[in-house]
Each structure stands twice: as C-alpha cells, then as structure tokens.
Subunit: 206 residues, 2 copies
C-alpha cells in the first residue's frame, strides 16, 4: 500500500510490529521529517538522544535500531537505498522558525504537518519530538559546526524500516523553502507499507 | 549564594532574568546534566535540537544562546572557564539505562535527580528533556561515530550562564559509574548564583 505525502504536507500510518515500511524521495532532494510513536501510548516516541546513546553514532547504521525515550527499540533500519545522508540533530520546522526567517503569514511546517497527520488518525501528541530527518544533509565539521546543504537524494531513493513494536509512523515532506535543505523546491514523498511477500520487502525496486 | 550538588544527586534553583549562574566542577572529571525550564510554564524548556538549529553548532560558543522548544532564548553562555568540552547529544541516564548496563537494584540517575530536584521546589515536568551535559566528553569522528571518554575538566573548572528569562535551573551530578564519563568516580558540583556586584560575575575565581 502506497501513501503519497504531497509536497509540504504530512501523512501518518499505523505499522504493525514486524512489518516493513519504506519512505521514497519521489522527485529527489527532498527531506522527510519522520516521527514514530508507540501505538498504544503516544507519550512514548522515537528519541534521537536515546538512540545516539545506544548506537554511539550520529545516525544508526543499517541493521541498527532506533529506540524510544523509554529506551525500547521501536524501529530497525533494514535498508538504505540512498546516498545514506540523513540528519538526527535538527528540530522540526514550526511556525516560530518561519517567523524568525521573516515570514509574516501562514507557512506550512513539519510540526504542524505532524499535528494534522496524527489528527487524521484521531491521535495527538502533547509535543513535537525531535524528528529523524530523512535525506537531510547537515554535515558536522571537526570543530562542531553544522552546515545546511541541499539533500543529495535522487528520484526514487528510499530508506526502509521494520517496526519492532506496533507504532504510528508519521512523515512530513518538509515545506522548508527559505533554507536550501530541499533545494528550495519542496516536493513529494511516498510511504510504502510492504506486505510480507512483497518482493520490494527484500529487494529495492529502483 | 552557593548550592552544592552532592555526588550522584541533583539540585534545582530559580534564576531571575538577567541573573548569572555558574556551575563548577569541584573535584574534576565530573559531568553535570543541566536542565532549564521557563519558570512560569515547565512545558517550555531548553531544547538541544532547537538550539543547534539556531547556532549551527553541536554546542553553542561563548556569547551564543540556548533556546527553548518554542525557540525563545532562555540562557546565554557568558563564560567558559574549562577546557570547553561539553555534550549536547546524549540523553540523561535513567533507570532503564542502568538496567541495560546490568544493574538489578536501584541506581541513582540524572532523570531521577531531575524529578527529585524539581519536587523540592514543588515543581514537576511530565518528561525529561534532553540535557546539556556540562564537561561531558563525547567526541564525534568524521564518520559520525561517538566516543564516551572521561571528562577532562579540572577541579575548579566552571561555566557561567546568564538567564534570558526567569527560569528553573536544575543540575544533576551524573551518577554514571559504569561508563567512564565521570572517570568512574562520581563527585560533586556547585551551582553559584552570582550577585550583580559579585566580582566573580566578571572574573572567574579560580
């Protein structure tokens, strides 16, 4: 089952324990802000800082797991069919971020997209957890400086996860068009829920 | 006014807007987990991921500010009289962390110290924000790997902040004795609330 995440919007799906889910950058150079919550209790969510403590990496390697704020594994990174450049340092964009960048009226944001996509499932989270920023390119220099560069993912690049527990999997196609992370042109993503016998579950289809 | 944070314990103080507060490593090689909340509403707190987005650094430089999850400046880093090695990547230790390290009974933790120190002020936070880990040495290699090394702070090393808004400032003297971050011997810290005319407000006293 494919759920397209239109440019600058968000979508959330439920993923059962043991099921695989893939996020594809349909047009290239597009960041996806991923938020994952325990299905039974959204106060438990994927946590970047706890995941770094477990993996001792800025971003997990293929085969490693993301954990929640209660240190329970929630997602395994099973395949990365992209240049492998992702970010787990930067907060989700939100209305305050766009105000600081000079926007006076409404601007779509990943925080707002999360809220809306959860609401579409009759769910809500009291706060916006730090996301996993798929395809986002924020290199760290030796002196600890961060650069904000355009994503180098190509059309069709994808990353695949397996849910460790029943979870809610929300993806925002980042609407950022004032900083170059999306090449200044926000585009769409796709979420594919892979069936157990889907050949794509084993072999990427690009 | 000095508040000593005994080894493996936590303490919280209220700091008014414009006031300065210093954290000193009394015996050396001791990590302090710092949590800062807006005094009027503890759901607003210092956020590592939002601070990185503002500073474009893994850790702010002297003169830069830490911001909250609502992107409001809450603390300015005004002086760093230490080797300048701090961490803003790793979650606070908690009971689950010590269980994973093989501890079966009670073990003090920074998350528990935060809860207790807030309770001493009749305050509570629904969750444990990602802390600012003062003096903690987690270098990042070029390929994104993190190392857990003993703190290189010496006795008397200190870091000084100025509150931008009225805030609650909680420090845990990290009880971690199973991983080498504290040189395997947790020791004490001090929180100094500096008076406006305290010479230490301008000139470190070591």
């Amino acid at each position: 089952m494919r759920v397209v995440v239109p440019a600058a919007e968000g979508r959330a799906v439920k993923v059962g324990a043991g099921k695989r889910v893939r996020v594809t950058d349909l047009e290239g150079s597009q960041v996806g802000d991923l938020f994952v919550f325990a299905a039974g209790d959204l106060t438990e969510h994927l946590s970047a800082s706890h995941t770094r403590a477990v993996t001792s990496r800025l971003f997990p390697a293929v085969g490693e797991q993301f954990v929640t704020d209660r240190r329970r594994p929630i997602l395994t990174l099973v395949d990365d069919d992209s240049p492998g450049v992702h970010d787990m340092l930067i907060a989700a964009c939100d209305p305050a971020r766009y105000r600081a960048l000079g926007v006076s009226g409404f601007h779509a944001s990943c925080a707002d997209n999360l809220r809306r996509s959860l609401a579409s499932l009759d769910l809500a989270s009291a706060h916006t957890p730090q996301p996993v920023n798929l395809f986002m390119r924020i290199p760290v220099s030796g002196d600890g400086r961060l650069s904000w560069l355009s994503a180098i993912s190509r059309p069709g690049d994808a990353i695949t996860f397996e849910a460790v527990v029943d979870c809610v999997f929300a993806v925002s196609a980042c609407p950022q068009d004032l900083v170059g992370v999306n090449g200044r042109r926000p585009t769409s993503l796709a979420i594919d829920l892979l069936s157990d016998h889907d050949p794509r579950a084993k072999e990427p289809d690009k």
